[in-house]
C-alpha cells in the first residue's frame, strides 16, 4: 500500500533528496566544529552554517544575517524570545489559537509575575483586530501570535498585527511554525520583531533545526549560556548576535540538510508552494464537504488558510478515523488535540479533538482524491454502523 503523508504540519515528509546527500557530505567531508578552530574542517563547517544562515535571512527579508539565530525547533526559538524578553510586571497579549509552545512558556511566566491577556478568536480561528486593540495597554511589552493555526490552518493578519503592536510601542513575536517556507514572510514589511520557525516543516529540512529572527535593537537575555567559540578569554557570555544565543555546538549535520532544502525551496519559490497548497486544500474541502456526517472546521475561505485542514466524522472518534485511515488506506494523519488545547476550546472541539490533514509540496491531486474516497467510506461506516470491509 502506497503511503499518503498528510502530517506535514507535524514534520514534512518526504524531504528533498538533496537533504540526505548534504547530511552525508557533511559527515564525510566537513565534520569539524564551526567557529572552534582554524583547520579546514572547522572552516568548512562554519561556511556551511553561514551559507544556511544567509539563506534563512534572505527567505524572510532579514536585513542582516547576524540577526538570524539557529535553534533546535520553533519551540526552542519561542522560549528564547519569551523568556528572554518578558520580566515580572510586563504585560503580554496573545490569542486563544496558540500552540502550547507559546501557552506553556506564558503560563510559566505568568506564575513569575508576567501579566498575560488572551484574546479569544472566533470558531473559525479568525482574530478580530479590534479585540487585540482593546487588549493592548500603554506599556504592553509584547504581542505574540501564531501566523497560522496548527489546528485549522487559519491565517492571522500578521502585517496588521505588526502595525498595531508598533503603534502601541510593543514588540511583535510571530510563531511561524506552520508558515515558514509555505507562506511568504517579510519581517520588514510585516513589522515582525521576532520570528520563530522550525526547519523541519515547511522548510523541508531535518528535525532538530529551527531559527529565531531578532530585529536589531531587541535585546533578549540568553536562555542558555556557554561556549560560543568567541571571546574565549572571558567567562561572561558574549552579548553580540548570533553568538549570544548559540552556546554549545550547533546541529551542523541538520543545518547542512536545512541549507540543501532551502536551496531546493528557493528554486521553486515560496509563492509557488503556497499556490500548490491552496489548490490542494480547496480541492480537499470542496470534495469532502458533501460527505454525510463530516464537519470541516476552520475558515471556509482558503485564501485565509494554510495547508492545514481539521474535521470530525459523526459516529467515530478522531483517533478511530486516523487509525482506519492508516490501517486500511495508508493515509497518515494526526488525530487529537495537536498540542493546542486552547485552540480546540476556541473552535468547540475540546476535549475530543479533530482529525487533521496537513498537506505539503510533495502531495498531489491524486492523493487528495484518494483521501476523499477513503473518508467517504469511513463516514458511511461510522454513520450507518455498517461492518468495516475496506
Amino acid at each position: 500500500m502506497a503511503v499518503i503523508y498528510f502530517d506535514n504540519a507535524a514534520t514534512s515528509w518526504p524531504k528533498p533528496p538533496e537533504v540526505a546527500s548534504a547530511i552525508i557530505d557533511h559527515a564525510r567531508d566537513a565534520g569539524g566544529n564551526p567557529g572552534r578552530a582554524g583547520h579546514r574542517m572547522s572552516i568548512a563547517a562554519a561556511r556551511l552554517i553561514e551559507d544556511t544562515r544567509d539563506l534563512l535571512a534572505a527567505l524572510v527579508n532579514a536585513p542582516d544575517s547576524s540577526q538570524m539565530v539557529f535553534t533546535l525547533n520553533a519551540t526552542h526559538a519561542l522560549n528564547i524570545a519569551l523568556h528572554g524578553l518578558l520580566r515580572p510586571g510586563d504585560h503580554v497579549v496573545t490569542t486563544s489559537m496558540e500552540h502550547n509552545s507559546v501557552m506553556r512558556p506564558l503560563h510559566d511566566l505568568a506564575a513569575g509575575g508576567v501579566e498575560v491577556s488572551v484574546v479569544a478568536c472566533g470558531v473559525d480561528g479568525a482574530l478580530d483586530l479590534d479585540d487585540v486593540r482593546r487588549a493592548m495597554r500603554p506599556g504592553t511589552r509584547l504581542l505574540v501570535t501564531t501566523h497560522a493555526s496548527n489546528v485549522v490552518g487559519t491565517l492571522l493578519p500578521v502585517a496588521e498585527l505588526g502595525a498595531l503592536a508598533r503603534a502601541h510601542g510593543a514588540r511583535y513575536l510571530v510563531d511561524a511554525a506552520q508558515t515558514a517556507g509555505v507562506v511568504p514572510i517579510d519581517v520588514e514589511a510585516m513589522g515582525i520583531d521576532l520570528l520563530a520557525f522550525p526547519g523541519h516543516k515547511g522548510l523541508l529540512g531535518p528535525t532538530g533545526t529551527g531559527g529565531l529572527y531578532i530585529r536589531e535593537g531587541v535585546t533578549l537575555t540568553p536562555l542558555v549560556r556557554g561556549g560560543t567559540g568567541s571571546d574565549s578569554a572571558s567567562e561572561v557570555q558574549p552579548e553580540f548576535l548570533p553568538d549570544v544565543h548559540e552556546s554549545g555546538t550547533l546541529n551542523v549535520a541538520g543545518i547542512a540538510g536545512l541549507g540543501a532544502s532551502l536551496r531546493f525551496l528557493s528554486e521553486i519559490g515560496v509563492d509557488t508552494v503556497r499556490a500548490h497548497e491552496l489548490r490542494l486544500v480547496a480541492r480537499l474541502v470542496e470534495a469532502a464537504s458533501d460527505i454525510p456526517g463530516i464537519t470541516i472546521l476552520g475558515p471556509r475561505d482558503q485564501v485565509r488558510q494554510c495547508g492545514v485542514v481539521s474535521f470530525t466524522i459523526a459516529g467515530a472518534t478522531p483517533s478511530e478515523v486516523a487509525q482506519l485511515l492508516d490501517d486500511s488506506f495508508g493515509i497518515l494523519a494526526r488525530a487529537g488535540l495537536h498540542c493546542a488545547p486552547s485552540a480546540h476550546r476556541t473552535i468547540g472541539t475540546f476535549p475530543d479533538g479533530t482529525v487533521r490533514f496537513s498537506v505539503g509540496w510533495f502531495n498531489t491531486d491524486l492523493e487528495i482524491d484518494a483521501s476523499v474516497a477513503a473518508l467517504r467510506q469511513i463516514a458511511a461506516w461510522a454513520t450507518r454502523g455498517v461492518a468495516w470491509t475496506a
Binding site: R36, G38, I43, A46, I49, R53, S65, S66, G229, D243
Partner: protein, 83 residues
Amino acid sequence: MDGLISFFASHHAIRAEVTLTRAGLAARLIPGPRELSPNCGVALRFEFAQRHAALAALAAKHVRIDGVHEYRPRTDTWGPPHS
C-alpha cells in the same frame, strides 16, 4: 598576503571572506594567531595594501571586525651567532 583581520566571532570571519572575495579582493581564512585572535579560531589573510577597499567593503556589509594587522610570518632561519 601580508594583512590579517581578526574577528570576535566566526560568523563575521566567514562573512568577511565571502565579502572580500565577491569584491574581487584576495582573502583566505587561516587559523588565527593566538596573540591576535583568541576568539573564534580563524583570522582572514588579505593584501594589506588593499585595506581601505577591504574595510569599506566589510563596513558596507555590516561585517564586524576585531582589528587589522600587518602580517609578518616568522621564519625558520637562524640569525648569525652572537659572539
